[in-house]
Assembly symmetry: C2
Homo-oligomer: 268 residues x 2
């Protein structure tokens, strides 16, 4: 193979690592690609790591040994996280977002690729030690965020459905009461998508009473799957007592003041 100089190697390694965050690439792959010695590649990776850290562009994890490799971790400094979350909180506090019933319109934020990947990267870093086998969410609004976390951690996404579909194959279904509106809902998961003994990281866009997230916990229990963690983008302050308490959130929605047309939301 053709030899490549350092700036070429560093550009391509950055590109490969970043296009699949969380995915492990063997050092040998890079050695072959560039006709470079292992020591040279190790040095490149060390330089790249320092550079990324210095410019707050994430981190690289190197795992030595047979099953090891190099992977990109989209983890940022507390300052950068705070900047990102404050920016999103400000966007969400626009009073024109108030909907009838004290809800707020968040759909655009959870469908914006930049906001989604920023929030997802932060959530992924909160659960960097959770070691999940898959990311679980309930359709629909949380799907982009959950996919972002799945991407950041390089794990499959498992979407539970409100209604079982024929294209899901056999499913396990539970009924539950929603936390806020006290209606009976159904939640189904494809049996093929998961196995007993696995670990799930639950991700959702929003938690209020916690009904649907709690149902996901129950569904996992039904399938003998351990919940390795639960992360949401926005947690409503009230009700104070939710159906789940072991969750982490990025933003707290304190209050939607219908009378004065004010939304109070801030990073946790």
């Amino acid at each position: 193979m053709e030899k490549a100089d350092r700036k070429t190697r560093i550009a391509i390694v950055t590109s490969i690592l970043q296009s699949n965050p969380g995915k492990s690439h063997s050092l040998n792959l890079f050695c072959e690609m560039f006709g470079a010695a292992k020591s040279t590649m190790s040095e490149d990776i060390a330089i790249l790591r320092t550079t990324l850290q210095k410019y707050d562009q994430g981190d690289i994890e190197v795992i030595l040994g047979a099953g090891g490799g190099v992977k990109y971790i989209p983890a940022f400094s507390p300052t950068k996280r705070e900047d990102i979350l404050s920016g999103i909180a400000q966007t969400l506090s626009d009073p024109s977002r108030i909907l009838p019933g004290g809800y707020i319109y968040t759909v655009d934020v959870f469908s914006n690729p930049t906001h989604v990947s920023n929030m997802a990267n932060i959530l992924a870093s909160l659960f960097s030690k959770a070691n999940p086998d898959f990311i679980a969410t309930v359709e629909t609004k949380g799907i982009p965020l959950a996919l972002g976390v799945a991407r950041a951690m390089n794990k499959p996404l498992v979407i539970t459905r409100r209604e079982a579909k024929i294209t899901e194959g056999s499913v396990v279904t539970i009924n539950y009461l929603t936390g806020s509106s006290r209606r009976i809902q159904t939640m189904s998961i494809s049996k093929r998508a998961v196995r007993a003994g696995q670990r799930a990281l639950i991700i959702d866009d929003f938690i209020s009473g916690g009904g649907s997230v709690h149902a996901l916990f129950e569904l996992m229990k039904e399938l003998t799957i351990t919940v390795a963690g639960c992360g949401v983008a926005i947690a409503m302050r009230e009700p104070l007592v939710k159906k789940v308490d072991n969750y982490k959130s990025l933003l707290t929605l304190e209050q939607v003041d219908l009378e004065n047309k004010k939304i109070i939301i801030h990073p946790v």
Copy 2:
């Protein structure tokens, strides 16, 4: 600001461009970040572009002038596309995927971050001239793919719902017949999410009779939105006459042979 050497600049520019594909960054931003002259940064970008192209890692687009900037385009060579799509076709042709009724189980593929971003990047490159204002899809299975395309093109995603939700605000709803099972379905879109006169790129995971995609076309017409293109991952060969004909697909599902337990699927 501190001066940075070429390998540092190239690493960080690669990282910034790749973490937001399709997003334009001004050259001045990089000049300030690295204390570099414009001519130096232009040279870096030119080197990076040649390097990415050489290693089939995508492309960089440079738009000169006031509103201009530099952006990363995840576009790959025909060979790489073919490799990616053949690999996915092979995964999908596993006979254990056959479901009752001649459906095939594809959920895992459309929830795998690597497959999703690969397919999404290819779809985005097929529509690189479509210039959409947003990416539209119908819940649920197509959402990850549509988000991937939205990410590749740096455009917002707009998800139409089967049932209007209070958190969507005011909606426009249409009723339609599904192409294959001839049932009446409903499709709703948030009025806040779109504006008359915009251009939509419709993305879905699968097209069979074309009922739901056709309904999306109708919904766009209702809102005076131009459909700039329509892309799906998998198109079933039959029915030959679908409710839409102007779509592009990545894979053709020729046949699900229930008797011989065989799935015939290949890149278009």
